[in-house]
């Protein structure tokens, strides 16, 4: 079991991911996995604002679409290089996220979620109707693949796979740095009690806004990668069900944990792929499955595992030294119930 934890566990996962292209029979599996990594980056971002900071943002898919469209439009209509456009996608999302956060984070709880749902709709409707800029329902075609640093493009399935894997690892490392830092602790303090966090001297609005901006930058960059991978964009990308999918990934894996969103983003698409024979009925199975999971496994797979581990360790400690009060669970599992 110790093999699956900490640095060893992560190295094992990365090793598995590195050999993955050589053990799968065809490019189809590779492409499913590549797409999973892209959505995992977006899900990591959503987890920062929802899992760690406690604000259920329903515009996340919209921001991913903004990032994708930024790359798509800048590379095709304005002939920017891919990576310049990619950086711009992050910047655009950051600025728009700052503005949206300034308005929306003044609301709390349900109102915030509903407000961001409406923001998501505004993004969708703007992309669909503002034909002069976004090409409307026609979409953006002919987006170039990411440029290779030594010339050419990363357009082979295997090259794309390693590129997205690289970004996912980078994203996860940066996220780990964020949540383990004092900043991450202040995010969690806000989640666990806004009034208490404020009383401890945490500037509430600034902290929440920072979490929001960081999270939508993740979404924007994931969107940029999506544009470079799929190379065709339509307004459908901004539809609310993409946000719902990201929420599902985060929840299945384990909300408020580092590994949860990644696990969910990889696991859920594989599940739905294997349910392919159900075609249109997929969601008929998946909707109830999600509800069952919420009722019986509310912390997701990783969250439940961490909870059990924390409980076992606490019990062991209590046995070994009954006089020492037990320390609380490791912070990744310490989501308030």
């Amino acid at each position: 079991m110790t093999l699956l934890q900490g640095k060893a566990g992560w190295s094992l996962l990365i090793a598995l991911a590195l050999v993955f292209p050589y053990v799968v029979p065809n490019n189809y599996f590779l492409s499913v996995m590549t797409l999973s990594y892209i959505f995992a980056i977006a899900a990591l971002g959503l987890n920062l604002i929802t899992g760690y900071t406690g604000q259920f943002n329903l515009a996340h898919g919209g921001f991913m679409a903004i990032g994708a469209y930024a790359v798509g439009l800048l590379t095709t209509d304005y002939q920017w290089g891919f990576w310049w456009a990619f950086a711009a996608a992050g910047a655009v999302c950051g600025v728009l996220g700052w503005l949206t956060g300034m308005l929306s984070l003044r609301m709390t709880g349900h109102v915030f979620s509903i407000f961001t749902l409406c923001v998501g709709y505004i993004i969708y409707l703007l992309i669909e109707k503002w034909e002069a800029v976004t090409h409307g329902a026609v979409g953006v075609m002919g987006i170039p693949a990411p440029a290779h640093p030594f010339g050419g493009e990363v357009d082979t399935p295997i090259g794309q796979y390693y590129l997205m894997l690289g970004f996912l690892v980078l994203g996860a490392v940066v996220m780990q740095r964020i949540v383990r830092s004092i900043l991450g602790r202040s995010f969690m303090a806000v989640r666990n009690g806004e009034a208490l966090a404020e009383a401890l001297g945490i500037p509430l609005m600034r902290t929440k806004r920072l979490a929001f901006v960081l999270s939508v930058i993740y979404a924007g960059l994931a969107g940029g990668l999506y544009a470079g991978h799929v190379r065709f964009l339509g307004p459908e990308l901004a539809a609310t069900h993409h946000t719902f999918e990201l929420v599902m990934f985060m929840l299945v894996g384990g909300i408020g944990t580092l590994f949860g969103p990644i696990l969910g983003s990889v696991l859920v698409p594989w599940l739905t792929q294997s349910l392919q024979f159900l075609q249109d009925y997929r969601m008929v199975v998946f909707g109830p499955l999600l509800i069952v999971l919420l009722i019986f496994l509310p912390h997701g797979i990783v969250g439940t595992w961490l909870h059990r581990k924390a409980r076992r360790e606490a019990a062991k400690r209590a046995q070994a030294a009954p006089s020492i009060p037990t320390v609380s669970a490791p912070h990744t599992g310490a989501r308030h119930a």
Partner: protein
Amino acid sequence: MELFFQQLLNGLTIGGVYSLVALGLTLVYGILHVPNFAHGAFYMAGAYVAFYLMGSLGLNYWLAMAGSAVAVAVLSMLAERLVFNPLRNAPPLHDMIAAIGILLFLEAGAQALWGADFHRMSSPYGQLVEVFGLTVALQRLLILAGAVWLVVLLHLFLTRTTTGATIVAMAQNRDGAALVGIDATRVTLMVFAISGALAAVAAVLYAPINLVYPAMGHLVITKAFVIIILGGMGSFPGAIVGGLIIGLAEAFGGFYFSTDYKDLIAFVLLVLILSVRPQGLFSKGAH
């Protein structure tokens, strides 16, 4: 001037539909404090059930409407029993996501049963009539009359009957209501049934001048959310007034401004109003 009155009527009819949907949403929010994202799916389900009853069983419009109201009320109560009740003590995030689960299920279900195509629902009231020198579709007058009648009926039910009073009591204070002997389970189920039935009736009224398709609830439910935020979450008059405001804003905005961006008006209105008054238009304070 005639065009102005045409738009006024259009605004009132759409506003009526929005009000009915928002009323159901606000009732459930008042009792459970759950934003029911599945409400739009109930609306969609209502339209499909009526479409099926009329098309395959050959029932007339009114019977189909009644049948669909009953069916969706049952569906709504099932959702409460099977989903929201087990999650009673879970964090609010879980309720919202569970509602999304119901939404995915119902939409995929409708698509699996009837396909992703757009269907047209026929209505026996397709003709045009002349009222005060205005030529209007009879169905629009029907929507307006239906909405007004339902709102008045619901108002009388909530204020004049003991059963209605139990709902109001629960909305005001759950524990207090339980202390004076009100059966919380029964009231919750009743509210879900009323809310589902309202959504179904609204859908059947509106479907003949719109279309029936799996995603038909999306915009309506999102606008209903805009309405209850503006009107104050859980507020009964807020839902009615908010519905009419959004309906009129859309009709006039679509006519004088741009039809393409008509659907944006509600959301832009929300953003503008909430940036000035984060607590909503009619709510008195925090909730």
